[in-house]
């Protein structure tokens, strides 16, 4: 039994850290977060050339064929770098969903090669993270319904739309979205939704939110052409699998963010002086840093265990996923709180990077279910049995 990274995994971690430090420094994060979709084509090209877009997919499908622990390693470094744009939704969410459907795996090659971005449209007005809230209807090759909180929709060529088909759950593929899309200008949301559109059009409307590095959209389908990839139990199982994978990837990403926030705070506490001493010498400050480390390391244990359990198909894998996400959701926010607190006024400025992590922490806390959502999932598994 060995709970630690292997030599190969450590090498992967180092090369990921180096890659993101070089290709996506904070200045680049700040530039991209002001752009629609936070997307940069040349960064995307480099991600693909270095294999990151195919990390968890079979070599047969054009990927690197690595496992979910390796996914967690990479995600952690991406979270540390605050990698902006559609990588997460393309690879860890939409990619994981396509990968869970044997008949759809052929579509992964375009993602691996960096030719295509994709996302999953799940939430609707009920804002539920399970498929029970889905009302969007797919019938006769057309899909109609309004999806909310769709990550990175403006840069996705393919939208995987979770819908109902004759009462059954269905996973539909709406392709070629980028060309037919109509992005409404900021502040004209409800008008744009009310305006008449050509039949089959997909309207994408920005939902400006707290984390600008990863943007959310309302996607309105009105009799859009759809290819149904799976229905019923198969669709349900594939969706659950993909959400579990994405949730673990997110938990690992959050660990990387927490780690970075802790480092920034500790560094500041060593150099900033008040009363003639580094503030890190005061226990009231020092103990905040100690707690940040405890939160980070505990989140790390939970995230890596969940990745391993999912990879191995351990009987407690789904509980492990919820333990990781429930804990990290509270921990990342709390680490952010303390990191900003020990910075005093500097921590509250736009120029300091901490608020970028603080914003990401909030968005990550919400994504794929917050702590309360996952605690209820744990309760169903361990109390109700």
């Amino acid at each position: 039994m060995q709970f630690g990274l292997t030599e190969t995994q450590r090498l992967l971690k180092n090369s990921a850290r180096e890659f993101f430090a070089t290709e996506c420094p904070m200045a680049e994060v700040r530039r991209l977060m002001e752009i629609d979709g936070a997307y940069d084509a040349s960064l995307w090209q480099k991600l693909a050339e270095n294999g990151w877009t195919g990390i968890i997919f079979d070599e047969h499908d054009g990927g690197m064929g690595l496992g979910l622990v390796e996914m967690a390693v990479a995600a952690e470094e991406m979270g540390r770098a605050l990698l902006p744009g559609p990588y997460f939704s393309t690879v860890f969410l939409a990619g994981a969903l396509l990968n869970s459907l044997p008949q759809a795996r052929g579509r992964l090659r375009a993602i691996c090669e960096g030719r295509e971005r994709a996302t999953v449209a799940l939430l609707e007005e009920s804002a539920r993270w399970d498929a029970e809230g889905v009302r969007t209807e797919a019938a006769n090759g057309r899909v109609t319904g309004r999806k909310l909180f769709v990550p990175d929709a403006s840069t996705a060529e393919s939208l995987l739309c979770i819908a109902r088909s004759g009462g059954d759950l269905a996973i539909g593929l709406v392709a070629g979205c980028r060309s037919s899309r109509n992005t409404a200008p900021f502040g004209r949301g409800s008008e744009a939704l009310a305006e008449p559109r050509p039949e089959g059009a997909v309207l994408t409307l920005a939902m400006p939110a707290i984390d600008r590095t990863r943007q959310l959209y309302c996607v309105d389908f009105d009799r859009a052409e759809v290819e149904v990839l799976a229905t019923g139990d198969e669709a349900q199982r594939a969706l659950e699998r993909a959400l579990d994978i994405a949730t673990v990837a997110l938990a690992a990403e959050m660990v990387g963010g927490m780690q970075r926030v802790t480092e920034i705070a500790v560094e500041y506490c060593k150099t900033r002086k008040q009363f003639g001493k580094p503030i890190g010498q005061f226990q009231a400050v020092q103990h905040q840093c100690a707690d940040m480390l405890l939160l980070t390391e505990s989140s790390r244990s939970a995230a890596y265990y969940a990745a391993w359990a999912l990879q191995e198909g351990a009987p407690d894998a789904r509980t492990a996923v919820s333990v990781a996400k429930a804990y990290a959701s509270d921990a990342y926010r709390e680490a952010g709180n303390r990191g900003i607190q020990v910075h005093g006024g500097m921590g509250f400025t736009w120029e300091n990077d901490l608020h970028l992590y603080y914003r990401r922490a909030k968005a990550s806390e919400i994504a794929f279910g917050d702590a309360a959502f996952h605690r209820e999932r744990i309760a169903r598994m361990v109390i109700d049995g």
Binding site: P278, C289, A290, L294, S301, E312
Partner: protein, 397 residues
């Protein structure tokens, strides 16, 4: 990263399981062998440890030459887990096994290892730690119990406090001041002291739970042979710190299994006890709290696995053990509070009350948990250690 047990670890577990099946005493009820006094209870645990020793299972990761099994640290963990899984009685000589034995293995002279280690394993000699004093608690290095060199002996005078098992101990790992002129960390020495020596006086200290787990120990002109110095004279701080790191790293091993079993029991109670006309397990607020406790117990287990993996690859436990200590002690206090909320008015009922769940165990555990963030180094001291030794922040004291 591979969390599957190796074939050897599995084989070890299987052998241990079958041994435990035929040897765990049937009259053990959990907390105590029913109806016994503290002394009888301890004699019972001592006899049990002797049996474990004779079976070849004491000191799993200790070298074979000192009576151990020479197995890996992971097998030691398996041992702790299996003992907890079958609710076996604890081993009597817990401080000798977990803390003092490993310190003697690390710092002891050959003759000391020969003299002391096997008797720790067999529980023929029970050990206690003489560390804290009335004016040296968190600031341990300020201790004042002094040892003056007198020919081939040291003459010891002073007082120790919070000495667990002091009343039962045959030997003590005692930290004393041998050079009052040196800076406080540089004038300390560790002595191995026979508790039956003339001049050693042990007085009970009653805890808020009503029990007397620990003692005050007084030393009046106690003569200790110079050959009983552990490590070097005036290098006692290094030796003592080694013991404390073992304490933080290993005291929590296996605790997650105890907590998990308590948690399962609490879930059973929650299913059966009424809350506003429905089972308490249906109450959305309690469900949230129970799930949080479950998650934290699980994370405690995982943190422990990571930390032990690191130690098994890199040698001695380091200051990261403070994270473990902080986590389990604060978790247990939250856990016991949730248990109180689930049990409602029944939570407060004490041992002996016929309406109490589990003979008052929950009221006891609630009170006992209060000590967790104080014993073995307060939470504040653990945060100082993490801040200074792990994060590299300037020392605050």
């Amino acid at each position: 990263m591979d969390l599957n047990y190796t074939a050897e670890e599995q084989k070890f577990r299987d052998e241990l399981r079958s041994w435990l099946e035929s040897h765990v005493p049937k009259d053990w009820t959990g907390r105590k062998a029913a109806g016994h006094s503290m002394e009888e209870h301890f004699a019972y645990l001592r006899a049990w440890q002797k049996q474990v020793y004779d079976g070849g299972w004491a000191g799993v990761s200790w070298p074979q030459e000192y009576g151990g099994r020479g197995a890996t640290l992971m097998e030691q963990v398996v041992f702790t887990e299996e003992m907890a899984r079958v609710s076996a009685p604890p081993l009597a000589n817990v401080l000798g096994l977990a803390l003092i034995g490993p310190t003697i293995i690390a710092h002891g002279a050959a003759a000391q290892k020969e003299r002391f280690l096997a008797k720790i394993l067999s529980a023929d000699e029970i050990w206690c730690q003489g560390f804290s004093e009335p004016n040296a608690g968190s600031d341990l290095a300020a201790l004042r119990t002094e040892a003056r060199r007198d020919g081939d002996h040291f003459m010891v005078n002073g007082q120790k406090v919070w000495t667990s098992y002091g009343w039962a101990a045959d030997w003590c790992e005692l930290v004393v001041r041998t050079d009052p002129a040196a800076p406080k960390h540089k004038g300390l020495t560790v002595l191995l002291v026979d508790m039956h020596s003339p001049g050693v006086e042990v007085r009970p200290l009653r805890q808020m739970t009503g029990e007397s787990e620990f003692n005050e120990v007084f030393f009046h002109d106690v003569r200790v042979p110079a050959e009983n110095v552990l490590g070097a004279v005036n290098d006692g701080w290094n030796v003592a710190i080694g013991t404390l790191m073992h304490e933080r790293a290993t005291l929590g091993a296996g605790l997650h299994i105890v907590y998990r079993r308590q948690f399962q029991r609490l879930v059973d109670i929650a299913r059966s006890i009424d809350r506003n006309g429905s089972p308490a397990s249906h109450d959305p607020v309690l469900r949230q709290k129970l799930a949080q406790v479950y998650a934290e117990i699980e994370i405690m287990r995982l943190n422990q696995m990571r930390s032990l993996s690191r130690i098994s690859q890199g040698g001695a436990p380091g200051p990261e053990g403070s994270i473990q200590k902080l986590f389990w002690s604060e978790l247990n206090q939250r856990f016991q509070q949730v248990a109180q909320e689930v049990l409602g008015p029944f939570a407060q009922l004490d041992k002996g009350s016929e309406f109490a769940f589990d003979d008052g165990q929950w009221a006891y555990s609630y009170l006992r948990a209060r000590g967790n963030t104080i014993e073995a180094g307060t939470s504040e001291i653990q945060r100082n250690i993490i801040g200074h030794f792990v994060l590299g922040l300037p020392r605050s004291y």
